[in-house]
Symmetry: C2
């Protein structure tokens, strides 16, 4: 039976990428060795990371002055690493609290400077993007979370800010084109749109670094990775390789413009069904904030008792990863870049059919 | 042609492990999805990490009170994380400087407390293990590097110390049985004997934690990983999976005793050839310190001009990864757990044959 993987992350990857990624484990490029057992300083991996960097620059249209780094530790490590590198004690950074992950970023940043939370939707269980904040004049940066995986909200347009934006883009990185220039730092765990879990991409404006007074351990200093081209120590070879394959796939699929077009279509199909189906309703209160990546919905009150039954039918039809996060409940369909329209259509068909039978 | 992978790391993995690892990328356990796209909180990965932990405990015969953690960032991140978690400012830790990596550990630790380098072989280009150090009474721990990949030296017996040992065991972890009880903390990048690059194992005596006053970011606090069973955030799923497969393989091959027996045999074959072949000589000055993992040798002075020719013949015979580190020169044959005796024999045969033709 065809499997439809709606997991929030680690998430679906393009079938062609997975096919090539499997081959590399047995026999990389026909050299008779596995990529897993090759030196990260050898010609094979050198070519891989160079291609990954070049593709990332091309796809994001990165201007000079921005560096692409391949780190580990996930966005959670960036929650501390970003302020460590950008914020002196006594200096202020503005943060917008749009979800659990934004909240964690705030908690970690407080170890390093004055953190001004200028907007929050926490009291409303993060059902919308809080856009009413004012960035203080002395803020070194404004931190936002571009897409909130748990709540299914997304910044449709990034906020205007006099200070550079620092952005956790983990769950919608590479899902749409955007202008990099307002950003000082972008970080993203690979395991949504880019690759398997195990590497974290950082895009950083180099001139913002080197201004903090604290002594940074080498592995927590972005400059170490810039200087050594992400090869200061052994990088996560395989996750970077698979990410490179995905970057090739993005380029082949029309770059970020082509990807965005498909993402918009998929999301429209699903939100349309949610809005017209009497059994279901979306959880995001402001439709403008609806995420194109994570579509959160619940059963309407009248049909709430049918939740388990619908989930059971999803599973019986090969649809996995659809359980909503415990803090939202209901359903979450994560429809990242690699999710085919046919899988979204299969879910919509089931919702529609279920309503006919039960409504 | 049969390939012989003598890479120092990322390094050779068992053929059976690679075969199963490749299958998991296409279709994990027959479920119709790739392991790369499965949630780290799903039943599949839960079973994997639980088995990995259980196997690690069994293979190392870990007593209660020790925790097994799966981190990222390599040993280089542990260079700062260990002192951050164990050493207050003003407190002293003893370090033994047995190579470039030990030296890096010392450099990072100096950011966090008083570092007393009690022994060093740096002046002799690290050609032996410096064993003459005295651990100060007030030392919180003694840091050692169990095996020095670049120089081919290894602690045959670990030093006695009143303070707990903290050990970078990256390049000989799981290559031999040892008593864990003198150790407070052991860390190892996976990419030698355990798995692909991308995860770092930490074995820590839990009662040593929570004694430092500094505020630790969550991702740099071992207790975060203990509390969440290494699942505080998305872990490097695939590198952990492959490591679990290797642990199964170690168990099947007689555990650490069985592995050590094979490693001793392989090393004896190679060192024996180096010592009797007039064209080659070992670089480690004290034979007792010779590594069973990384065998470093050069051409004798008389035959130094033949180095390139011998390297060329190695490559022509499918032997890769044999170039010595630039700071030692010559050759380095890394013969980790997964290296078959037949590959070591092939190298020895070539050395012997080369000597007959050129000597």
């Amino acid at each position: 039976m065809k499997q439809h993987n709606f997991s929030a992350g680690p998430a679906i990857l393009p079938a062609s990428v997975l096919k090539e990624a499997a081959k590399a484990v047995t026999n990389y490029n026909g050299i008779g060795l596995s990529l897993l057992e090759l030196s990260h300083r050898g010609p094979e991996f050198t070519a891989i990371i160079e291609e990954a960097n070049a593709l990332m620059r091309e796809i994001l249209e990165l201007p000079d002055g921005y560096q692409v780094l391949w780190l580990t530790g996930g966005a959670s490590t960036q929650f501390c690493m970003a302020p460590m590198n950008l914020l002196n004690e006594g200096e202020t950074a503005a943060y917008i609290d749009s979800g659990v992950w934004a909240n964690k970023a705030i908690k970690e940043a407080k170890l390093f400077g004055n953190i001004d939370v200028i907007a929050s939707s926490k009291e409303q269980n993060y059902t919308f993007i809080p856009k009413n904040g004012k960035v203080p004049k002395d803020a070194k940066y404004l931190h936002i979370t571009s897409n909130n995986t748990i709540y299914g909200t997304q910044w449709a347009k990034f906020p205007k800010s006099s200070a550079p934006l620092v952005c956790d883009m983990s769950s919608d990185f590479l899902s749409r084109p955007f202008d990099v220039k307002p950003f000082g730092l972008i970080y993203a765990g690979a395991q949504k749109n880019l690759g398997p879990a195990g590497t974290t991409v950082v895009i950083v404006r180099e001139d913002l670094l080197g201004t903090v007074e604290r002594k940074l351990p080498s592995m927590l200093d972005y400059r170490t990775f810039i200087k050594e081209n992400s090869l200061y120590n052994t990088p996560p070879v395989y996750p970077i390789y698979v990410s490179m394959l995905t970057l090739r796939w993005i380029k082949k699929n029309g770059g970020l413009k082509g990807i965005q077009r498909k993402n918009k279509t998929k999301a429209a199909i699903l939100y349309n069904e949610i809005d017209q189906n009497p059994l279901f309703q979306g959880t995001v209160t402001d439709k403008a904030d609806r995420s194109l990546m994570n579509v959160c919905f619940v059963m309407t009150e009248k049909y709430a008792a049918l939740e388990k039954e619908f989930m059971h039918e999803c599973k019986a039809n090969g649809m996995s990863g659809l359980a909503g996060h415990r803090s939202v409940g209901g359903f979450r369909a994560s429809i990242y870049n690699a999710m085919p329209k046919s899988s979204v259509q299969a879910l919509v068909d089931l919702m529609s059919d279920f309503a006919k039978r039960k409504g």
